[in-house]
């Protein structure tokens, strides 16, 4: 593990430097003050090895180069890069360590030093260290060996053991004191304990007697419990029967509910699947139809637009064709005129030529004048030709102007065609429609809100009715359960389940009575009120068999067909005061059941009180309003009675049933109303949805129209631009035409001028014949010219007309093409409309079929609902029966519960006894007598410390523990003493082993280094009381002690001592700072040679100014000062 590189930044005299080290032996040299030792300081700094004093600085910040804020040293080792940075601030300084770029703490650096074996005390030797060792006292030098031998570790162990020993001693003393105190307390407790034991025995006897007493009480309670259990078993049996019946009902209910669920599932499946699919399809088809209708509307609108455009085009076409016709006629006229002109012109030219010949003959004498005249005439002709050419050019320009004019006309026509106002009107119309739709939407939403409110109210009402029904049903169940015997219940239930036919109900169920007669009629009716009225005896027999089959108990039946009774009631009795009426007359019932009541009540008379009743003894069966009864036989039954009023209750039952039915009817009405409202809501939702679609569609249309407006606006702008361009072109042509016109005028002026000259010349050549001829020629020429002009004009007009015709033909072609396009478009749109209509018809047929299917499914669902309702009714009946049973079961349960509670109380009481019954249980009398005796004896005791018994045991136990603890502590003390002795021994062995080993190495080194014999020795037998001395015998000289040696000798031997230590505890590298300072040249050479030898196994970095040292080095690093007084380094290799 060598140092490969040291990087310094702002460290002491170094501003920035990189010092590279190579293996073996490197010497750092340079003038004093150049900064050599700062390199060794940097190693100490980077490893955080020593204090700032060792680093030759008053404080750490003095290590920072003057004028800088921070310093940094990086040392690159094999495999490690250690960096330390110190930063100066106003508040102080901060120091940072890094290993391989990672910020670490100083303890990490310490661990690294430990790991690398950098024993910095001896492998980095600073300038003063040699002198320091030499000047140490012998004891201090011994301490060095102690350090190296790790004696401090033994010392620490010994110190710890001594502390432990002291602690044990203190504990032993404490325990001894406590033992004394506890022993005293024990003696005192012994007396109290004996008294307490005597008292305790008496108390225990009393407890035993009391226990016997409790056993007697216990036995009494056991008997009570047994009788309660027996009663409980009976009731449980009864309840089990009811529970079985409830289980049967539940099973039936489960089946029915499953059936209902199946139906509901089927209904739901209809709703969820088929109906939903049909509805969705209806919506799709409706939407499709709506879309197609919109398409038809759109196409119709487009057809109208196209027709309007077609009409306009046709008008333009017609105009163009008329114009062509006119042009053709004009051209024909021009052709005729041209032909006629040509003939006349030819005649005139022939005539002119003849005249010219004649004239030439006559004017031969006046040739020169004639020639001049000729020349003038030629010039005149040229000018005229030029004029003709200019006229043509003018014509062309005018033609150009006309063309541009037509183009402008076309553009204006196109511009007119772009009818923005129509689109604006459409948008305005659409927006009006949109506002209407939105308004309608708002209304529908308001309506929806109202309907939601109505639905909420209806549901609330239904919920209230449901609650009322439930309450009534519970009450009904209670009423029914109170009155009807089990067998009657079974039969009525069988009737409801359809198991038995021809059952009308119990006698009481078939009538209603006034509340005030109810009790009297109930008493008069007696058990017969629960007789079951049936159609005939067969029905009765079937019912009886059924009761047997189901083990339903016994009931009485009244076959309606078999009632044979004829009552002859004496009405005179009714006039007696206190007589109310015959019982049978106080009953309200169906006429067909009248006989039933005649059978039950016969001639029983209802009177106000028992005194009145007395009057009819042995004549009638009389019952009072209070429920007192006097049989015909004279038997009187009466007294107080709970007003259960069976008939009243039966009547109540009937009323309750009616109420429930009425409530159910109301509920059904409300449900039907709710369904209607919900349907209305759905319809409303559909309408809203449809409106939403329309609004969206309209918005989209408005948006499209807006886009169209933008597009047309752009087109208009383009046309305007083009118009401007064309108008500019027209202006240019106009100005050109004016220029040509001006030129023509100039030429004509010239022509007139020349003609005047010609006239003058001709006047010179005055001769009558010539003049005449000339006049004639001129006339002819004039005519010819006129004719030519006329021809030219006609020709120009002809060209212009032909060009115009060509343009018109072209325009007609375009119009026709445009018309064709329009026709095609119209046809396409009409076809589209036809297709859409056909498709609509098809879709409407599909819609009808879907609606038909929807109606069919709705019917199917309706049927299922009916079936479901029937099943629900049955469930309802069963539920009622179940409620009755449940109520009965509850009543029994309550009784059982009461009994159980009583039993539980008894059992709990029994449990609380927790006793065993002894075989020889003394009698209760004996127990009570003996108890009195014991109580008397207990009273004779004074104050007793009962705790003394337990306390005595505790204190005794504590005393035993303390004695045991004392023994343990004494054992521990012995062990610690043994341990201290062992540590002492090991310490001495470690020291002597280290000492001897270092001494051996010292001897070897001294021999090699100083050419003499040397040793280290201790001055006492006990090494730890000794001082360490160095003894040296130079070759051929007496032995010397270190204290008596010269400075050079001291240095050499001290170095030998240091080397010996280093050999004992090798390090990977060594740094020496001017350790050769006090050696002469020869000894420096020796030292250098030794270092050279040792450097084979370790890296040596030595600061030295001595040449012998430098000469032995493998590499020399030179330190000097640079321009700005900073240290600079160079390095040379000497090997």
């Amino acid at each position: 593990m060598f140092i490969r590189k040291i990087k310094l930044r702002n460290f002491k005299s170094f501003k920035k430097a990189e010092i590279e080290f190579r293996d073996n032996f490197t010497v750092i040299t340079g003038p004093n003050g150049s900064g050599k030792s700062n390199i060794i300081d940097s190693i100490l700094f980077c490893f955080g090895i020593s204090s700032s004093k060792t680093l030759r600085a008053d404080k750490l910040t003095d290590l920072i180069k003057h004028g800088q804020k921070e310093a940094e040293v990086t040392i690159e080792l094999d495999g490690y890069i250690v960096r330390r940075r110190v930063k100066k601030t106003d508040k102080g300084y901060y120091s940072y360590y890094y290993i391989n770029g990672k910020s670490v703490s100083y303890s990490d650096i310490e661990r690294l030093i430990e790991k690398l074996g950098l024993n910095t005390e001896y492998n980095i030797v600073m300038q003063g260290d040699v002198t320091r060792v030499a000047e140490m006292t012998p004891i201090q030098r011994r301490k060095i060996i102690e350090d190296i031998a790790g004696i401090s570790e033994f010392e620490e162990k010994k110190e710890k053991a001594l502390e432990e020993l002291e602690e044990v001693k203190r504990n032993i003393e404490k325990v001894e004191i406590t033992i004394k105190e506890v022993d005293d307390r024990l003696s005192q407790l012994k007396v109290e304990r004996e008294e307490a034991i005597k008292y305790k025995n008496l108390v225990e006897e009393r407890e035993l007697l009391l226990n016997y007493k409790r056993i007697h009480e216990y036995l009494r309670l056991v008997n009570t419990a047994n009788s309660l259990r027996k009663r409980l078993e009976e009731l449980n049996e009864e309840r089990d029967q009811i529970l079985k019946a409830i289980t049967d009902i539940n099973s039936r209910l489960v089946n029915l509910n499953e059936e209902v669920k199946e139906i509901v599932d089927r209904i739901e499946s209809f709703k969820d699947s088929r109906l939903k699919r049909i509805n969705e399809e209806i919506n799709v088809v409706s939407n499709e139809i709506s879309g197609l209708k919109k398409l038809i509307s759109l196409f119709s609108s487009e057809v109208e637009d196209l027709n309007r455009e077609k009409e306009k085009t046709l008008i333009s076409l017609q105009r163009a064709e008329e114009e062509i016709k006119r042009i053709n006629e004009e051209l024909r006229d021009i052709d005729v005129k041209m032909e006629s002109l040509e003939n006349i012109l030819n005649e005139k030219i022939s005539y002119l030529n003849a005249l010219k010949i004649k004239y030439d003959e006559i004017t031969s004498r006046f040739r020169a004048q004639r020639e001049e005249l000729e020349s003038k005439l030629n010039l005149l002709n040229e000018l005229k030709e030029k004029r003709t050419s200019l006229l043509k050019e003018r014509e062309k320009i005018l033609e150009g102007l006309r063309r541009i004019g037509m183009e402008i006309d076309d553009m204006e026509l196109s511009r007119e065609k772009i009818d923005l106002s129509r689109i604006f009107d459409e948008i305005a119309e659409d927006e009006r429609n949109l506002a209407i739709l939105k308004n309608e939407m708002d209304k529908l939403k308001l309506k929806l809100f109202e309907i939601d409110g109505e639905i909420f109210k209806l549901r609330d009402e239904i919920a209230k009715i449901d609650k009322e029904i439930r309450e009534k049903e519970i009450e009904l169940a209670k009423v029914s359960a109170i009155q009807k015997p089990r067998a009657v219940e079974v039969v009525l239930k069988a009737k409801e389940e359809g198991k038995l036919e021809g059952i009308y109900g119990t006698v009481s169920q078939l009538c209603s009575v006034d509340e005030k007669y109810a009790l009297a009629l109930e008493i008069a009716g007696g058990n017969a009120l629960n007789f079951i009225v049936v159609e005939d005896e067969d029905k009765a027999i079937r019912a009886v068999k059924y009761l047997k089959d189901v083990d339903g108990g016994r009931a009485s039946f009244i076959p309606l067909n078999r009632i044979n009774i004829s009552l002859n009631l004496d009405k005179s009795v009714l006039s007696v005061e206190g007589v109310i009426d015959y019982a049978v007359n106080l009953i309200e019932c169906d006429r067909k059941f009248r006989k039933v009541f005649e059978l039950v009540y016969k001639d029983a008379l209802v009177v106000e009180d028992i005194d009145t009743a007395k009057k009819f003894m042995n004549k009638f069966r009389v019952v009072t309003l209070d429920g007192d009864l006097i049989e015909k036989s004279g038997v009187i039954t009466g007294g107080s009675i709970k007003k259960k009023a069976t008939l009243g209750l039966f009547d109540r039952e009937r009323r309750l049933r009616e109420d429930i039915e009425n409530l159910k009817r109301s509920r059904s009405e409300l449900e039907s109303k709710l369904s209607e409202v919900e349907l209305e809501r759905k319809d409303l939702e559909k309408r809203i949805e449809k409106l939403n679609e329309d609004i969206t569609s309209l918005k989209s249309k408005i948006s499209t129209s807006g886009a169209k407006v933008d597009e047309f606006s752009k087109l208009l702008k383009d046309i305007e631009e083009k118009l401007k361009e064309k108008r500019r072109e027209a202006e240019i042509l106009n100005s050109k035409a004016l220029e040509v016109e001006e030129e023509i005028n100039k030429i004509e002026e010239n022509i007139r001028c020349i003609e005047r000259e010609v006239k003058e010349l001709e006047s010179k050549l005055k001769d009558d014949r010539i003049v005449k001829l000339n006049t004639k020629i001129e006339e002819i020429r004039g005519e010819i010219e006129r004719l030519k002009d006329l021809k030219s004009v006609l020709s120009s007009k002809q060209s212009s007309l032909v060009a115009k015709r060509e343009q018109l033909i072209k325009a007609i072609e375009e119009y026709k093409s445009s018309l064709n396009d329009l026709e095609k478009k119209i046809t396409e749109r009409l076809n589209g409309i036809e297709d859409a209509k056909a498709k609509i018809l098809e879709l409407e047929r599909r819609l009808e079929s879907l609606r038909e299917e929807e109606r069919r499914i709705n019917k199917e669902v309706g049927d299922l609902r009916e079936k479901r309702d029937e099943l629900l009714k049955e469930i309802d009946k069963l539920e009622k029966e179940k409620s009755q049973k449940t109520l009965a079961e509850k009543l029994l349960e309550e009784r059982i519960k009461d009994l159980k509670e009583k039993l539980a109380d008894v059992e709990k009481t029994l449990e609380s006894y927790d006793i065993e019954i002894p075989k020889d249980l003394p009698s209760l009398e004996y127990v009570e007598r003996k108890l009195l005796q014991v109580e008397e004896e207990l009273k004779s005791f004074g104050e007793i410390n009962m705790k003394a018994i337990q306390e005595y045991e505790d204190v005794k136990k504590r005393l035993d523990e303390l004695i045991e603890k004392k023994k343990t502590l004494e054992r521990e003390r012995k062990e610690i003493i043994e341990k201290i002795k062992r540590i002492e021994k090991m310490k001495k062995e470690a020291f002597l082993s280290t000492f001897n080993s270092i001494n051996e190495k010292f001897k070897e080194i001294v021999k090699e280094l100083a050419d003499g014999e040397g040793e280290i020795y201790l001055d006492k037998d006990d090494p730890f009381q000794s001082g360490l001395h160095i003894r040296f015998k130079p070759f051929g000289k007496p032995i010397q002690r270190l204290e008596a040696m010269s400075g050079g000798e001291k240095s050499l031997l001290t170095l030998a001592f240091i080397f010996a230590i280093q050999r004992y505890k090798p390090a990977p590298f060594y740094a020496f700072d001017e350790v050769d300072m006090f050696l002469d040249g020869v000894n420096v050479g020796r030292l250098a040679k030794m270092i050279k030898k040792l450097s084979k196994d370790a890296q040596f970095i030595v600061v030295s100014l001595r040449k012998p040292m430098l000469q032995e080095a493998d590499h020399v690093i030179g330190v000097t000062r640079g321009g700005e007084e900073e240290s600079i380094v160079t390095a040379i290799q000497l090997r």
Binding site: E20, L1110, V1116, I1132, L1134
Partner: protein, 83 residues
């Protein structure tokens, strides 16, 4: 061989060597000298003497030393105003 600490052999006179080396540098008449060229053929002690002397001369601002990489050649640049 007898080693005597009292009889210390004569130590080299460093100052004398410095002056000697400086003179030899000046005598070359070059402003910039390669250290390797300068000490080529020298034995180890003489090389050390020259190196130490140059370090001292640099310290006294008689010259400047520049080395691009450690252990490579050193450029010795004489200062003009050195005396």
């Amino acid at each position: 061989r007898i080693v005597s600490f009292e009889n210390v052999p004569h130590e080299e006179d460093v100052e004398e060597k410095i002056v000697e080396v400086y003179k030899s540098l000046l005598s070359l008449g070059m402003k910039e000298i390669s250290f390797l060229n300068l000490v080529r053929g020298f034995d180890k002690p003489k090389k050390v003497t020259y190196y130490i002397s140059i370090l001292h001369l640099a310290y006294r601002k008689k010259l400047k030393v520049e080395q691009e990489k450690p252990y490579e050649d050193i450029r010795v640049i004489l200062n003009e105003r050195g005396d």
